[in-house]
């Protein structure tokens, strides 16, 4: 299959991007400055991320759509205000995760942002569940641009006046350059920032404008170190079809009001696990010294018994040390528990630690 390119591909090339294939797309892993510089620039200034490979699924409908979606997602969508977003999951009956996603209630229905590698399957699953009653559009004509970091609000507001009035996890339609953009205050770096849905033919000009105002393009490499420092899950690593939201330590994302009556896909398993606890749970892990423990590193207790596995691990540029996440048996999930990581045949000490590794700077209560 031919590799897909986003509408910013040329701009990436001009900016000396190193490309990798990701979920069938040619995506920039880094630019000339490298991952650590890009990471730090995002934390101190403002980074632009091309996330156009992600799915933008518009589902159109009224209250009857809300009712149907509540049978699928563990969310209190009835009481979700228009233009408010929630993090959630598409699950199977065993609460195994098909995908993690952000769903926003918009005037016309819902906008769901899906992972690139999962979006086509998600569309199929949701089409089967919803039938033909609601119009669904996995919109390939729109790009998705994230701008993240402390200077992002000032930069974006100078182009799209009014975005500074958005609270975290809310969005709205804005007019700019004779077109409608959907902007949400959200992101996946642990920084204040925005995601902008924009038509493909306007995306390059828009991003050039952001660069002129002082933001810089950031690759997927730094996006990964940023999200890991923020303790955020990445599908295919922390999350997959064999993991439940409770095991992934994401019970905060399940609406309390939905737990008493259930009625969503996977609710039985979730309710059982909420009561009895899961046998394995996702934790933060800090290796001692500078050792980096990558995905699939085995975790042991001091009696040589394997108690878990790392799902993501790297060097955290802002933490200035190695960081990791992984799953361990419940009895080893408490903060400060000593564990051992097997790297290149040797066991190295590490500690279970609280997430995030890096404190978030989200903006709450602008108005």
């Amino acid at each position: 299959m031919e590799i897909k390119k986003t509408s910013l591909n040329k701009l990436h090339q001009i900016n000396n991007a190193k490309f990798v294939e990701f979920a069938g797309y040619e995506m920039p892993i880094q630019y000339s400055k490298g991952i650590i510089e890009e990471h730090k620039f995002t934390r101190s200034h403002s980074g632009i991320f091309d996330v156009s490979h992600m799915g933008q699924l518009f589902i159109y409908g009224d209250e009857s759509l809300t009712k149907e979606l509540e049978k699928i997602f563990p969310l209190d969508l009835k009481n979700l205000k228009q233009n408010c977003s929630k993090y959630s999951f598409l699950m199977n009956e065993d609460a195994g995760i098909y995908d993690d996603l952000i769903i926003t209630k918009i005037e016309e229905g819902y906008l769901i942002i899906l992972n690139a590698a999962c979006k086509d399957q998600d569309f199929e699953i949701l089409s089967n569940l919803l039938g033909s009653k609601f119009k669904m559009n996995l919109d390939n004509n729109r790009s998705l641009i994230a701008i993240q970091g402390p200077k992002s609000v000032e930069i974006l507001n100078s182009i799209i006046n009014g975005v500074d009035q958005l609270n975290f996890m809310t969005g709205n339609w804005f007019d700019s350059d004779n077109q409608k953009l959907f902007v949400t205050r959200s992101g996946y770096t642990g920084e204040d920032g925005f995601e902008i849905s924009i038509s493909n033919d306007k995306a390059e000009k828009f991003v050039k404008n952001l660069i002129e105002k002082g933001a810089q393009l950031i690759g997927l490499g730094a996006r990964d170190t940023l999200r890991m420092e923020a303790g955020l899950c990445l599908y295919g690593h922390e999350l997959d079809i064999n993991k439940t939201p409770v095991e992934a330590n994401l019970r905060w994302a399940i609406s309390k009001s939905r737990l008493s009556n259930g009625g969503f896909i996977g609710s039985k398993k979730i309710m059982n696990q909420m009561q009895d606890g899961a046998s394995q749970i996702r934790v933060g892990i800090k290796p001692e010294g500078r050792l980096i423990a990558r995905e699939k590193t085995k975790i042991f207790d001091d009696t040589d018994k394997q108690i878990g596995e790392i799902t993501s691990g790297t060097f955290g540029p802002s933490v200035n040390g190695p960081i990791a996440m992984g799953y361990v048996d419940k009895e080893f999930s408490k903060v400060d528990t000593k564990i051992l990581l097997e790297v290149r045949g040797k066991k190295h000490p590490a500690n279970v630690c609280a997430l995030p590794f890096y404190k978030k700077n989200y903006v709450k209560g602008v108005n």
Binding site: I29, G34, I35, R290, F315
Partner: protein, 126 residues
């Protein structure tokens, strides 16, 4: 000191008497990106030509470091273990990895000179 020689695994090597100093090339560091971890062979251990003799990790991945010649490890550069970013800054100078007491200096003969290596690196990168 001898002429600098290079291996296909992107190590450089110089010889002074029977002691070889080995590190990774600038080209290697450019391919790896930001180096954040380095592991070196133990002093006193013996390493074999083309065998692994350390590890470097970038933010993205781990890579083995190979030794282009055999010998006994007589010194290692602790400074790059304490601050691996030095490897990106000065890979072919102060950020050497280890020194070996060579057994068989003829092992140097099969290695590339600078001109040959530059050509090799250019071809392998494209």
């Amino acid at each position: 000191m001898s002429e600098v020689k290079f291996s296909k695994e992107h190590e450089w090597i110089t010889l002074e008497g029977d002691v070889a100093t080995i590190g990774i090339t600038k080209h290697a560091t450019e391919m790896l990106g930001d180096i954040v971890f380095a592991e070196l062979p133990e002093k006193g251990s013996n390493v074999e030509k083309d065998g692994t003799a350390g590890v470097v990790e970038s933010t993205k991945a781990a890579s083995d470091v190979y030794t282009p010649v055999s010998g006994e490890v007589v010194d290692t550069n602790q400074a790059i273990v304490d601050d691996p970013s030095k490897i990106n800054e000065d890979p072919e100078g102060s950020a050497w990895f280890f020194k070996l007491k060579m057994k068989d200096q003829s092992e140097m003969d099969s290695l590339m000179n600078k001109e040959e290596y530059d050509k090799f690196a250019k071809e392998s990168a494209s």
